[in-house]
Amino acid sequence: MKEFMLFNPTSLDEAVELLGTDSSRAQLLAGGMDLLGRLKKRIDSPERVINLKSIPGLADIRDSQEGLSVGALVKLTELAEDSAVNAKYRALAQAAESVGSVQIRNAGTMGGNLCQKPRCWYYRHADFLCLQKGGTICYAQGGENRYHAILGGGPCFFAHPSDLAPAFIALDAQARIVGPKGQRSVAVEDLYRLPIIQLNGGLALEPGEILAEVRVPAPKANSRSTYLKFKEKPSFDFSLAGVAASVVMEGGKVSAARLALSGVSPVPWRPLDAEKILTGSPLNDATARQVADAIVEESVPLLHNRYKIPLTRTIVRRALLSLA
């Protein structure tokens, strides 16, 4: 990797200042699970690396009546093992548990998981200058695309790797962002932009902004949630298709529902039409099948990833039935 200056700021404001607004010159370090690989392969060669671990107060999980607050530097293992998260925000605990390996979960953070760069073998190979890296072509579209997107793809087709993002979206979470212009709050769902809107990773942060915290509203009465992820290598892999589902039940029927998928689209995919079908229906096999069909209905598979259609159908159906 290229040599860089490492900074250890002690406040978010200092970190924002050090980060500056040119992302090619500075990168944030939390767990380093995504950054280290990019630095070693020189996908990114920043002059400055700003270590967020030296900032106090970013690694707390706080549960209260209003809801849950997760600091950006909370480790995935802590999230997966936290008793309040397991009891009340099941999808989030399951999503954290499903990430990578034990070692990755022990180092990787919540913020890092949400802010991952594209996980595509063309993007991660130094010699392919793809669209996301300022090139003019998506090599995956007509090339090797068995792990790629079936929904929302184009002109880039990577599949979003975050497991926490779908869980947070299903739980209607808000992200607290700190930047040069101060603080703002944004729905986690709105952190991600399709490649047709924005390349360069698709993360909807303004230059110089840092994700500091995610807040999840307290669960409503009779609500439950889950995250189900399918991995080609069960012990340690990214999502080939995953879904987070959160439902509120009333009189044997779903009164409110939020769904979000991993591994099938360049963004954590929220299937609004499918949510509508789910809302007002009993949670049974017939409903689950309808919802699953609705999700894949608009899919546009590439040459080598058609299998993701039946796979997504299965994962959605099984996730919903597990909530019944």
Binding site: M1, K2, G142, G143, E144, K233, P234, L311, T314
Partner: protein, 785 residues
Amino acid sequence: MYPTGRTSQDAPEKEVKKKRIKAKVGLAERPQVVEIEVPEQELPVWDLDSKLAVVGKRVPRIEGAEKVTGQAKYALDYVSKDLPGLLYGKTLRSPYPHARVEKIDASKARELPGVKAVLLFDKGEGFDPGKILDVMTEDAVSQPKGRVVIFEGEEVAAVAAESESIAEEAIRQIEVKYRRLPHVVDHEEAVKPGAPIVHRGMKDNLRRVDPQVRGDIDQGFKQAEVTIERTLRVPVLLHNSPECHVAVAKWEGPKLTVWASTQGVNGFRDELSKTFRIPPSDVRVITDHMGGGFGSKFGMQAYGAIAAALAKKAGAPVKLGYDRHEENLAAGNRPNATMWIKLGAKKDGTLTALHCRSFGTAGVGWDATVTPMMGIVYKCPNLRLEDTDVCTHAGQGMPFRAPGFPQGSFAIESAMDELAAELKMDPLALRRKNFVDQPLQALDKIYDLGAEKIGWSRRAEMGPETSSAVKRGIGMGTAVWPNYCGPPAHCRVTINSDGSAEAAMAVQDIGTGTRTLMAMVTAEELGLPVEAVKVTMGDTGLELIAPDSGGSVTALSITPAVRAAAAAAKAELFKRVAPALKAKPEDLVFENGKIFAPANPRKSLTWQQATARLGATPVSGRGERLPNVEPYAGIPLWGAQFAEVEVDTETGLVRVLRIVAVHEAGRALNPAMFESQVNGGVMMGVGYALLERRTMDQMEGRVVNPNLEDYKILSSFELPEIETVIVEPITPMNNIGGKGLGEPPTVPTAAAVANAVAQALGVRIYELPLSPDRVLETLEARKEA
């Protein structure tokens, strides 16, 4: 044939006196006494009547503690603390699969502080490690005449610098102007007329291997009452040894020492000697411990040549290794194959004809042969086996644990199961019907045990008809690998005055436990505990030639020599103490802790008393591996594996629940190490079945998964339960009674898993790996049909 490290120093054939001896061999429950002819100095075979105290026991690795505590030193571990002034080398590689190198400008790199040597590989057409002195220059700027790169990862230049990061930066500062040329990386495209030619001077990309023919294939198919015909495919695999290729080279005047991660110190030494035009005696190659090779680490290769060339140029020791990305482009692979196979049989299952045509690619290298396995695994009077190598613009193939056999196994075992279905016959019964009967072979027992342990009869309740979305199946395949062990191997055993012994040999332990076997056999022959034996190995400086480790040859090439050396050392000790015991040396024995002549047991010395008499002059003996005893050397290493799987038909996920692996290696020298070999072989085989495949972008001609993230290998969590069953037919082929085991445990695994999956689904997938995409696509296609 498979490389076995035969070297220029092989002993010349000489007239040897022979004797005839008897041995009780085979399985304990059906022993056979055979009479064999052996050289006069050969020891009696350790046979069924031999009472062995150490050999055959579960002796832990003697270097185990050293390894698990991090004390064991690998070539990768060397740093400047170990070798003052050590520099770090790095190789510049082509990012293109096919291009003309028009200009190399290394002037910036040479001026970088800390850079001590820069070599350009700009002369000649390509980079051949054996010709490094002829293809390299030390220019700063070069406009090469005919230099062409023919695969992504081909070596273009190299640097040595004071740190790894300086070396890496220097590589990036070398500017190369390439003019791209058309490429082809898919073997099925490379066979077409008009495909870009990989090797200049060839008219196409094909090399047809002489077919193997037996009987009359046309007659065979005429006699057949049932025929089946299928095409199967397997992908290119990457070795991914835990330790990547690495060498540390140091010159002292004209003498060269190299610490290397290699499967053959002798082969490596010989190639260095030729390449750098110095006598073998001026080259020393050392491998104390190594982190796996699996066939990818024979010979000097580019890493050895470049390390030595840089060290010479810099006048300082140089360490040069590959990172994982380089390893997966340029350090070898298992070739892929497209295999068309046709079987003919009588209604009772008797095979009448076997025809296979296979073509595959070893990239810019050679040998994608897959059919030799088919010629020996089942009895078939008429066969025709045709292999064609197809060159593509990709890294060269290398031997990969049982070269060609897992590929061939997938084709023939799949075809055998489908033939069984056509014949409405049990798949195992079909194998038994066409069983190869050989003297002292135990395949019948291997099949019996495997079927019993897996519960073969439970197959009847499995398959696609069950109501659950998760289906189960059981399948099997036969393991076979020819016996390649034999001479040369030379060992020296020394007995010291403190009662300890040392066994020395220029052989390497590639992780299989060779070091421990040397200690065990020495201890057995001397009558000592294993702890009393020290082993010195992995160093060509010992000049006790032994084979390179590959082809399952090491254990039984070397241990007969170790035993002979120990016996010779013991005889020397007896000579020294005979006068004190007033006996003839040849009358002495060492039993129950005492050395004595049975005619006069009262007069004795303990081992310690006897060796104490050696004083400052220890005794030593040399032993040599004598030729194999025929016809027993012609009997392969047999086994069979049985797999039970679970397939989720809605996600396409295959889980291998259990593998019963029944294997024989003649005498099992150490059951714990036997199990280790089987565990490793099965693990690689399940990875082949379920996950592993090198994927190349066709348009750019590059590997898209040269890493361990997208090239997926099995983790311990995906490991099935492995039950190893040892069958032990003692062979009179050598004085130990054993054969070998390295390759067979990975030969039938993928085929057995594929057969189990086919039973579970009721439909077969004709291409490895059996990954979720393949399973789901196959099931969707069936739905649509």
